[in-house]
Symmetry: C2
Subunit: 424 residues, 2 copies
């Protein structure tokens, strides 16, 4: 192992911290302010810390002349001013696909699919990890780490490799072989832990305390990490020609992505980069892990934790940290939250593949199926322009469609047999 992994104190803390427009951290509950630091919970009110900015003036031209990656939005992110010059990944600028055939199937006038399967490791996690890495470097960290069961593990191991950093990725030892391979190939320190994901998570928090030079992307640098999700909102608005969509459907795991997409839209409006037109944010969960949807349905403002049981494993967070803030956002914008069964998730995957040629993982199936349910329930306006966030790739959750799809027929090698199989 290299020295970086075994050092326990941050030695490289810089004289001047450059996190671009980031000004300070603010606690989400009571708005206590504190200097930028690798901390994630307010010591005052114990609520999550969030980055606050001093943007100055940001013009569309500044963004449009930037690189074809999330770094074009560096003036809106907690990253160094020269972030695109520093070794990191260049995620983002994924396709916004006009989905006319899906729209017709859903009975909605206009649907756009934000297809984040085009990212370097094929999920939106590349966005948040890239921002976490950029911030972590400024704070003097030297190792990129996370607990994960899938997409996050891929993204952290790949980003660290590209940057020349060490990575430490903790996974439950029972993780499927394919997910182990897609992380191990990047050759970081992949550690299998005998325990479930909760055990792994607890271990991560403990290790974050012990190793001062390890940045756990979703623990000690979480406030920076989570800001990466704003780039989904920025790209959607820019790709629509600098305007906000009327409706957007976002999957809910911790809930962070949904609240950050909303934050991104609001920032664009406040900065005059778009007309601050009204939009409604909708949340999507799998029924087998639907604590936020249940709270919404019951009119609660707190979220009751659940024990997850769903094929949508990348959304299976039973105690979502940002649950209450999701409820706030959805209520404020006039949206709604729904959940769908595992069977509907698979149907959602198949519907998107059949109509638009886009193969998404189970989380995307949740989004599509929830959109369908929301239209049928009259909650999603079929006449309003709607964006669906497709945040991960079907190649990573093949087990979900196994035994559900297959060849139409198996035939001997003759043209006649093919013709017969096709019903001629």
């Amino acid at each position: 192992m290299t020295p970086a992994l075994t050092t326990t104190t941050r030695t490289a803390t810089k004289r001047t911290l450059d996190l671009g427009p980031a000004a300070e951290l603010v606690s989400k509950e009571e708005g206590h302010r504190q200097p930028l630091a690798p901390e994630f919970v307010s010591a005052e009110d114990f609520s999550p810390l969030e980055v606050a900015y001093d943007f100055g003036r940001v013009r569309r031209e500044d963004i449009e002349s930037g690189p074809r990656s999330i770094w074009r939005y560096k003036r809106l992110l907690p990253v160094p001013s020269d972030v695109e010059q520093i070794p990191n990944t260049e995620p983002g600028c994924t396709r916004l696909v006009r989905a006319d055939r899906l729209a017709e199937a859903l009975g909605v006038r206009r649907v756009w699919v934000k297809d984040d399967t085009g990212n370097p490791t094929h999920s939106f996690k590349d966005r948040v990890v890239a921002v976490a890495l950029a911030a972590a470097r400024e704070f003097g960290f030297e190792v990129l780490a996370c607990p994960s069961t899938g997409n996050l593990a891929n993204a952290v191991a790949a980003a660290a490799a590209r940057a020349g950093w060490q990575s430490v990725v903790l996974i439950p030892s029972s993780l499927e072989r394919a997910k182990v391979l897609t992380t191990a190939v990047y050759d970081g320190a992949l550690i299998a832990v005998d325990g479930n994901y909760d055990d792994v998570n607890r271990l991560a928090t403990e290790l974050a305390g012990e190793h001062e030079n390890w940045a756990f992307v979703n623990v000690n640098v979480r406030p920076y990490y989570s800001e990466g999700s704003k780039t989904l909102a920025f790209e959607v608005a820019e790709q629509l020609g600098w305007r906000l969509p009327e409706q957007i459907v976002v999957p809910i795991a911790s809930g962070s992505q949904l609240t950050k997409v909303d934050k991104g839209f609001r920032e664009l409006g406040e900065l005059g980069l778009v007309e601050p037109s009204p939009y409604r944010v909708f949340g999507a969960q799998a029924t087998g892990c639907s604590p936020v949807s249940a709270a919404f349905r019951n009119g609660h403002d707190v979220v009751q934790p659940v024990k997850p049981d769903t094929i949508a494993r990348s959304l299976a967070i039973g105690n979502p940290a940002d649950g209450p803030y999701v409820l706030d956002t959805v209520s404020r914008t006039g949206g709604a939250i729904e959940d769908v069964t595992d069977e509907e998730v698979v149907e959602g995957i198949r519907l998107l593949a059949r109509t638009e040629g886009i193969f998404t993982e189970t989380a995307g199936g949740v989004t599509v199926a929830t959109a369908k349910k929301l239209v049928e329930a009259g909650k999603l306006d079929p006449d309003a322009e709607t964006v669906l966030l497709i945040t991960g790739d079907g190649l990573k959750t093949l087990d979900a469609i196994e035994d559900k799809v297959g060849p139409k027929a198996t035939v001997p090698p003759s043209a006649e047999a093919v013709g017969k199989a096709l019903g001629r």
Copy 2:
């Protein structure tokens, strides 16, 4: 089945064919000219037919103001003038990654990786299939078809779904379950054929003759299909700031991609879109299927067919149609061809992952490992800027790294155990 599948004649042939700048077909051997048609072999000299153009004037601004997909190059492709308005996929504009860590590992001054894993179905096949679909529609075809064992099957099924076309994809019935799933999910007519890939290929040619409304992308519309590979050259040049690289390493299956990348570079030079600076084209094969590399080594100008035996299955074409033209191109540009063992292929995959966080399929491993071998042999100039074409995704060939990579350690859930595993 819908009527389209069972109709055998093309009914929708248009009055005026609009294939943009495409002017006619020319036979590769003797240059016989014939009108644009869905034909692939010259009746005069039995050599492959290739598209010839009447480009007129094409300016960088025309391209730069186009969409973020291969359709920005429509003035250089055999596709309708309004191609971006017609339902199809929008592949291309994938990342050109400056690969400093890989360059250092290879001992080369400057390396760029063209990362085509970002395409809709994560391989370069989306480029050629999109062009084939656009041309096929103009010719009045109604069904998109192919024989395939992997990437092409994914691309055809997805593109047809997005366009609202029927697809017929023929696969050997022994194909791995994962590859069946990733095609079947798009819900076209996936037909498993009891036989090997040669049987499936023969069946495709037979069916192409019988079903006049079926466009087999790599059979009857092959001249149009193969032009799609030029977009790799166009993008590399545009992404380098409108100039040609000094060296490029291209994997060889049929050999079509390599010859078309060269054609693309030449067209850019002839049109004055780039300075026509010299470049050298290098070819990469797996030793287990290296007929073109063997011919190059032995100074032959014909290629002796082989029986493929390599893990690089997407390159495993034992009798490559464009083999002789590859030899011409490589000799003319002053390049070379090499081949690498399956072990080296896996090392190539791991090297790219470890240094740049890019996980490629076996074909990409062939390209990286061949580049390494060419540098070591003094054939690739370490002081010349070099582009590597990474044409497919590691998620599709997980079996290649299975048993080669894995967790560094399996530990109980304690911080001490993790520390020990990391050598503290």
